[in-house]
Amino acid sequence: MTGLSFDVSHLLAGALVLVSFMLLYQTRLYALLNVFALQAVVLSLSVAWQAYVQGAAHLYVTAAIAFAFKAIIIPVALHRIIARLGIHRDVENVVGIGPTMLAGLALVALSVVVMLRVASEADALAREDLAFALSVVLLGMLMMVVRRNAVSMVVGFMSLENGLILAAAGAKGMPLVVEIAVAFSVLVALTVIGVFLFRISERFETVDARALDQFQGDRL
């Protein structure tokens, strides 16, 4: 592991965390999708670089899948869904931007501290890579928590899965099976979400998660 390859993967992983922060920052729905596409691109670059460094061919396939699905197909599909549903108004945050950013920082700090406990004789890259993956996962969850709109909640879930792919890629020698499975789940998730969105919008004319809540069966 030459110094350069370590620095580049380190750079790309850091970029991914940065993009997650940008995702938190967005308020517009369309902007949110664009940033998500950016995140997918950075992810695929990072996976491709891992493939190059580890010389594992299957990682290239994963990078390609990630790029194709997450960078292109899903944003375009979500674009069309939003257009059809006519819900391109802005994304109401439940929590203001300031506190969200602070929470994000705290989560990243926590994941770094937790990772520091891991004894250092494991190679540095794996530890760094995991720290960043953990932060992207936690930021993804944070995004789902602070967003009210069902579409943005799904995007948050997607960015969480990006964190997973980053971690999986970082684990050298993980059998390909897992990669395909991850991709498979992304695909299925998308179809199901789409179906839900249509059905949800059919039913309640709005995608706002709040509209869903008052239909809970066991209301007082």
């Binding site: 937790v114 406990r117 936690l138 969850m141 789902m144 928590v145 809540d213 809970q216 066991d218």
Partner: protein, 677 residues
Amino acid sequence: MSALVLLLGGDAALLALSLAAIAAARSRNGGVFIYAAACAIGSVLLVGGAYHLLGRHAPEELALPIGLPWIGAHFRLDALSAFFVIVVDLGATAASLYGIGYGRHERDPARVLPFYPAFLAGMNLVLLANDAYSFLVSWEFMSLASWALVMAHHRDSDNRRAGYVYIVMASFGAIALLLAFGLLASPAGTYVFPAEAYNFGAMRANAATPGLAGLVLALTLVGAGSKAGLAPLHVWLPLAHPAAPSHVSALMSGAMTKVAVYAFVRIAFDLLGPPAWWWSLVVLALGGITAVMGVLYALMQHDLKRLLAYHTVENIGIIFIGLGLALAFKAFDMPSAAALALTAGLLHVFNHSVFKSLLFFGAGAALTSTGERDMEHLGGLIRLMPLTAFTFLVGSVAISALPPFNGFVSEWLTFQAILLSPQLPSWGLKLLVPAVGALLALSAALAAACFVKAFGITFLGRARTEAAKRATEADRFSLAAMFAFATLCLIAGVLPGLFIDALAPVVRSLVGARMPVQMGIDWLSIVPIAESRSSYNGLLVFLFIVASASLGAAAIHRLASDAVRRAPAWDCGFPEPSPATQYTATSFAEPIRRVFGGFAFGARAEVDMPAPGDMRPARIKVVMNDLVWETIYLPVVAAVTYLSTRLNRLQFLTIRQYLSVVLAALVALLLVLAAWP
């Protein structure tokens, strides 16, 4: 064929009978067959128990492969369980005999017949169980069967509420016992113990450390005490017992509470090894308070069956006073005094099961013939139901501890035991025992007043409602059961020596000593400790009374006149005094409520006297609140409702909030990991 095998066979037969009853309930006189069979099996079990106890046989043990996987189910028949088998099955036989006649009035027998034999089997199995698991299974099975019987008339919401309170208290008691057995099973310190530790034999062997033993006793008091009806845990008893059909109430009051006393005696005297002296303080205090509170509440009731149920609470208090004294004497190893106190307690167990069942039978007969349970709607039943009235009178005199009946004998023995207490060295007991003696005397006097009211208002005077006028005499079988128990009360009162000697093996197995042999003493009198100290001869007192009464009557009839003329009673000259002017249950108890009501249940009488000239009728409203219910149970219910309402909001969060909970949990665990040393 050993007695234990006979008893287990009988219990199996009862269980089979309960299955058969499901089918039999549909046929018209299916009930008669079931009750007759139960009566037969009950008498067989009674004979088995008596054979073992009176024959002074050695304890028998038996293990079956069913039950807890590794050790199977163990059963044991020793003197103590034989005595309680006799008590329970005597009640069972009589109740079944009574049920043959009483069962016909049952509206839907399908809900009573299947559970009745199961209830009997449950009670018998508890007495024979020799390991924690089978004990608790039969204990809860007994509660389950009696719950089903209490719910027999489920259409009335009060019965449902009573059933609910009963089953929750029963499972609370069972869990307390489970914890007690958990402590007994684990020898001090070792955590991982083999399943064999649940066997009572093993529990007896490893004596628990004093600290733990105290905790086990407390748990047993809660567990067995709640089923028997000790003071703070008695609230379910007056709700549940009246709700069941009368012969089942008789069994629940007469037999089931005794099974609870058996559980306490088995654990406190047998499994726990040498008692600490302060245990008796707790038991005596609880016994005394239960006795007085039970009878005070009984006095205030005007529902006959609730009055009898509350009165069971009082008698349980008296039994626990006897047991407490026995524990005290055993702690300071005074075996002969302990033997006297324990004999008094156990004799009262027998006496109470006899006369309480008799009274419930009488109440049941009155209830079915008039359809009324409220005493204030009855009155004058003695003319329409003379035989039931006579047996109820015998029961009332016996329960009020008046010579020559059996209630007086056990009360007298308890007083003799109390008089031995100055030899106890501990100060606490020196002060507590006279107080408990005074409480016992007070509860005996209150009991007499309570049963003057119960018998007087229900059977004497004039009929207060049309229903009371329609009363008809009970059927043959009920009367047979009632007369059997009435004569038993007299025999136990007149020849107490027989019963005391029968209890000797039980007492020796528990406290290592027995009372002096009673049968040898001339004139059949009983001398608990020494001739000079005190003696009582039931037979002579009885003959003395009968002789002088008949002598007096004969003399007056022959010498003076024996003419009789009927005339209207004098009621200050009003023509045709309406039955309403008679004293009712509430007015009879009013002076006693005025004296004791203040502290017992915060009784307040609000008198609404209209201004002079105002034609509005005056109103008096007596407000009585059940202090125990309000200070202990309502706060618990309120707390649970409050917490469940607050927590219920968690069910209606948005998805986002649920995710924040998951995130919070994750972050918390990560923080724990980060901070882990």
